[in-house]
Point group: C2
Amino acid sequence: MYQQIDHIAINTIRTLAADVVRKANSGHPGAPMGCAPMAHVLFSKFITANPENLKWPNRDRFVLSNGHGCALQYILLHLLGNLTIDDLKLFRQTDSKTPGHPECHLTEGIEVTTGPLGQGFSNSVGLAIAQAHFADVFNQPGFDLFTNHVYVIVGDGCLQEGVASEAASLAGHLQLGNLIALYDDNHVSIDGNTEVSFTEDVCKRFEAYGWHTQVIADGDNDLEGITKAIENAKKVTNKPSLIKIRTIIGIGSKNEGTEKVHGAPLAPDDIVEVKKKFGFDPEKFFHVPNEVYELYGQYREKGKAAEAQWNKLLENYTTKFPEKGNEIKRRFSNKLPEGWEKHLPRYTPSDPAVATRKLSENVLNKIADAIPELIGGSADLTGSNLTRWKTAVDFQPQSTGLGNYSGRYIRYGVREHGMFGVMNGLTSYGGLIPFGGTFLNFISYGLGSVRLAALSSFRVLYIMTHDSIGLGEDGPTHQPIETVAGLRALPNILVFRPADGNEVSGAYLAAISNLNRPSVFCLSRQNLPHLEGSSVENTLKGGYVLKECTDAKITLTGTGSEISIVVEASKKLESEGVKTRVVSLPCFELFEEQSIDYKSSVFPDGIPILSVEALATFGWSKFAHANIGMTTFGSSGPYQQLYKKYGFTAENISEKAKKTIEFYQTTPVPSVIHKPF
Amino acid sequence: MYQQIDHIAINTIRTLAADVVRKANSGHPGAPMGCAPMAHVLFSKFITANPENLKWPNRDRFVLSNGHGCALQYILLHLLGNLTIDDLKLFRQTDSKTPGHPECHLTEGIEVTTGPLGQGFSNSVGLAIAQAHFADVFNQPGFDLFTNHVYVIVGDGCLQEGVASEAASLAGHLQLGNLIALYDDNHVSIDGNTEVSFTEDVCKRFEAYGWHTQVIADGDNDLEGITKAIENAKKVTNKPSLIKIRTIIGIGSKNEGTEKVHGAPLAPDDIVEVKKKFGFDPEKFFHVPNEVYELYGQYREKGKAAEAQWNKLLENYTTKFPEKGNEIKRRFSNKLPEGWEKHLPRYTPSDPAVATRKLSENVLNKIADAIPELIGGSADLTGSNLTRWKTAVDFQPQSTGLGNYSGRYIRYGVREHGMFGVMNGLTSYGGLIPFGGTFLNFISYGLGSVRLAALSSFRVLYIMTHDSIGLGEDGPTHQPIETVAGLRALPNILVFRPADGNEVSGAYLAAISNLNRPSVFCLSRQNLPHLEGSSVENTLKGGYVLKECTDAKITLTGTGSEISIVVEASKKLESEGVKTRVVSLPCFELFEEQSIDYKSSVFPDGIPILSVEALATFGWSKFAHANIGMTTFGSSGPYQQLYKKYGFTAENISEKAKKTIEFYQTTPVPSVIHKPF
């Protein structure tokens, strides 16, 4: 089946990897060299994709979960014509397309950003869910539009990570037959042989999860074996597949099979020997034999043809099923359904007090059918997060009788990190807007994936309820304190803490309209009144004046569940003759993007500002001269008592407001908007 | 073997659990009711502990990993005489000893704080490592001082969490025969039957990890079966054990076996039926039959006697092995070895530039033998974190030939969250100071455990290297941005970012001397010069003047790797006639604890302050009027180029300093120390 040229191609990848890492004087040669055979088998026999349109919806997805081996991916993209040899020479150089770990927002052809171990694997589960979903929703007899597979290469490191365990268990439960993992079983991690810490039976573990498993004893040479195993895996349509492939890391190097070839360039003389061993001229660097370019050129042509055929199929489909066909086109062009935002509920102060988590459920009930690309779930807190809309159907294998693959509600189980990783995969597939729920405190369990959503510019929605000591009796193990500060410090993410119904609707409007960044909703467990002056549109500005007042002596500000208490405090102050403004600040990030003029109108110079938020005060200094907030952990008790204990009362706020006013009678009030640079 | 009284005791626990949760009008009755039989078997037949000295070193450890079921633990502590019936009546009430989830710093007899799922299970692995370690180091023929077992009850939720998977794989590898997990297999989680998301074969998974497994089909009644299984488990000394015990959640309730009994009180009329079913008077609340008190009184006496005997053994041991005997006493009384701090290295500016991660290794090399309770490792980044000291021996099963249980270096594998959870267990055991290493960015993988260390007042050390864009080529997937801000917002934790050798030594001095809080060391990959004016002692103050200057126009401040650049900038400014002060601020938390006078001497009013830190600027407003830092993700490239790209150069700092000075020529300089309240 394989010929001499295939071995030349594999050795081209190996020697090129050695050169790429050497030139950068930094990086990981071992994995690309060891994984070259399985990668070549994948790209030569299995992966159908069009290098000239890397976003073709039905392409097979390839994920390199051991992202440190990305020289492999860049080399493949080069052979397929997507990266130049100069790009390879700029490996790990500032502002190149070939960074130290693959970044999907930077390099076309990279499906997901990997490197932090276990992430790519969990993303691949999301990609597989997405494929199964699109196939079930759109495929029709004679129109197998969505048929792609998801291939993921995964190393020992990834498989030790909890995020991968969570995703693997979920994938087994969901019977994702379209997911095929090639496990690069090279027995080596950074600390040496895996015998020092990783001696479990990986195949048995995956069988326990419900996976199909196979073993290839000689992954360095047995191309036929790898091929047959992948063919077998494709035939098993009701189980994800793990193929354990024994390889030698850094094969060809004098240090092959050891941790020495993992994370540092091979020595120049070692590279000479590698090239000789593989029949390459050691004097040539970054050398690709012409016949290898020709071979990969064939794959390129094959991919082009495949997409052309698919495009024809889609056109015929659209003729026969115009609504569905146009829906596919709409969704993969990232356009939202016309007028979806009209479904967002709006409130007036006479509406009854409701928890913002419940108001979020209201939004989902209104928009879930209007935006069919919404796909979401909860990490086993559905009844608490209120993430399941009325008409929802569970995403489950049909055979379970619990739902089907057209379903859009995912039962993630108690797997926060896995859930967030899966959500990144869902986004990456295209045509989907994933959301996921848990308690705000437990976003900390999955921050590794949250930060990659931000880095990847992925629109995902985190519905985080029970967002402060206001959750009450569950106590400090469940009460977030530091959580929001950490999220506000993260680049390219919107953090919303809405104060009432209009702000919840505004948060959804902003989050769904922001194509290129994730959003976190911090939502209350406790009921909150709808506020005079709150507005959907003003929420889009991140902060706004809720209550204006000429000649005010103080501006009170805050977020979420504390705003109604702030309003109460402002009334108390007014009743004592202290003129008071109130500013709601549901989203720091959007507020900071407003014009200086607007920001100055919200926080005018010369009026001291007191902030109130039942979370860590850390970070509030930039918007307020004095802060009421948490500087310790909370405690377990009814939330009304806790709010009193920690000073979130109109009485304490007005007392502290008066102290603040007094302090600034003898001291100039610094501007929080006008800064040196 | 069991008699009527045992069933009465079990039903007492069940009815009491219903009452406790009902009275609080909040909480989880189902798990305590379902787990009552296994808990009673454990406490009546297996757990040896002395309720009159809950800190006896050789007590068996009991962990309730499904911490939401803590009514069970409180009831057991009541039956054993450690909590009063009034404590039970104050369940989930503010400032009670019986919070909504068990908190070890609050309630004597609680070994570890649980609730966030999977944590208790990973803690139990740490407790088992600690036991194996003490046994190997101190036991002598005829002197089996450390013989205790670790028992953990774990639910479906815990076993779905990645942190538990990581810890379980490690426990199997380490062959921890002293660890026995009772899996409350009740088929129910919050979203309903586990069939919706958790259908893996748990026993098979644990066998793959190297565990011994058993199944009890009727965990509600088969006390003999549970007993025999635990006996079997104790006999298997080279494998941890999982006993899967099928139970009915909320047994006796009309909603038994469903999610309805999981997280809400039973209805009063349901409780009436429960009590009738179990032969209890429905008119009586919080009722404990006298014979049950008597039964548990016997266990109490048994425990007292066991400790008395052990104390005698320890005295004889101390006579025969005075050094070792006194060492045990010292370590369990939380005293540090006399004079350990003299081993801390000190440096002068003429010493060669070194990365702070390397300086941390220097400290470990100096103190590891002086402080034998130090036990640490790395999540498979030993050569990068530099956490292994010269004389270290690996903690490994002797049979592997890789080390032994006396070893103090733990190969955690690529399991950050599991590592941090294990570290909490090690601390909880007593007599140990654990440390663990990974890249700073990947502390995010395990924040769930880090925040519990802080909440639990545990002294653990996080050695976090590669602490900024200064790690260079690995790129933004590995470069922390928001990480330190999130940690600084967390209560009860010290976050150090030392600038040179003396500050690294100071950070260790502070961290090891602080018995009741964890510490994070943020350490550079790149080399840094030793600074004129740096000091071990000043580091203990969190911030100090590195370079004073009368009539200064500006104070430059920052942390870690940026301080030497700040010093360079100050020289540049001085050369241009701009008088400049420099403040090093290695630890915000310690600085904030200093007197107002001291803080004012560091940041005198009237002089503008510019901060420089190659991390998110978020949170710096409280100490500085203008900030140089990161507001985006970093990128992949040589770090010198990145430092230039993002403005961490003497040139940019001095330019921004001049802008800051100019700005404050027309605007009053606000105090960062004097605040309204």
